[in-house]
Amino acid sequence: MTMPQEPLNFKLSRVTPKWAFKQSARRFLVIAFFLVPFVAGTAAGYINSLWSLLFAPFAIVPIVCFLWLVGATGAGADSPDEYLDEREIAVRNEVYLNAFRILGAVIAFGFAVFTFFPDLPVGANNVFATLFPLAILLPTFTLAWTQPDPLEEA
């Protein structure tokens, strides 16, 4: 089978640490993606001085987590058909379906919150700024969360 030139996200598999390929490690990275910026941001908000800049390096954690997750899943959530076999295509389509459902649930939750608490100091821009990247990242998170450990022996 002739493969087109290797895309960038496939190369991430080679620079992703081996431990990140385990399902438990992938789940840890998904949790870290959300938790680390939340905790660091909250802590920085409480300090509310120049010292809060100490938390700035934590902003890179979610980026590293996501890049490792793409590498650890072999970019299976975002690859076109020609790079995947029939099982991988079926898995990719399934994670997109699940990611769509999760996104729908998040939007419904947000809608309920804004309905019952209309005076929340959260602008519409912030909501879109959260939902837009979430829509793009969720398929990779869903795949990373559900895909079993890979076979060690080829």
């Binding site: 076999d85 994670v95 559900t146 080829a154």
Partner: protein, 90 residues
């Protein structure tokens, strides 16, 4: 297909892929390269976690030079040695 939640497909299809691969001294990667799939998918097939499409079943059949029913079955295969002994080959 229940590929990620429930690993077992709805219809269990048994196969002789591990035996055929071992007989020919092939790694999963060798077999995967021969039929144009990821070697992880060979593992899924061997464990019965994934049922192949008709196209993939034909590719495997052609590669091994065996009819599809010699590789895949809806009922568990008898051990090859037992099948040969009952036919008087051994």
């Amino acid at each position: 297909m229940k590929a990620t939640k429930d690993k077992t497909p709805a219809l269990a299809i048994h196969n002789r892929l591990p035996v055929l691969r071992a007989e020919r001294n092939l790694s999963r990667q060798d077999l995967a390269d021969a039929v144009g799939i990821n070697f992880q998918t060979i593992g899924y097939l061997e464990r019965g976690d994934y049922n192949p499409s008709l196209e993939l079943a034909f590719k495997l059949s052609e590669f091994f030079g065996l009819p599809i029913e010699a590789i895949f079955s809806k009922t568990p295969f008898k051990p090859l040695s037992e099948s040969l002994y009952n036919k008087g080959v051994v």
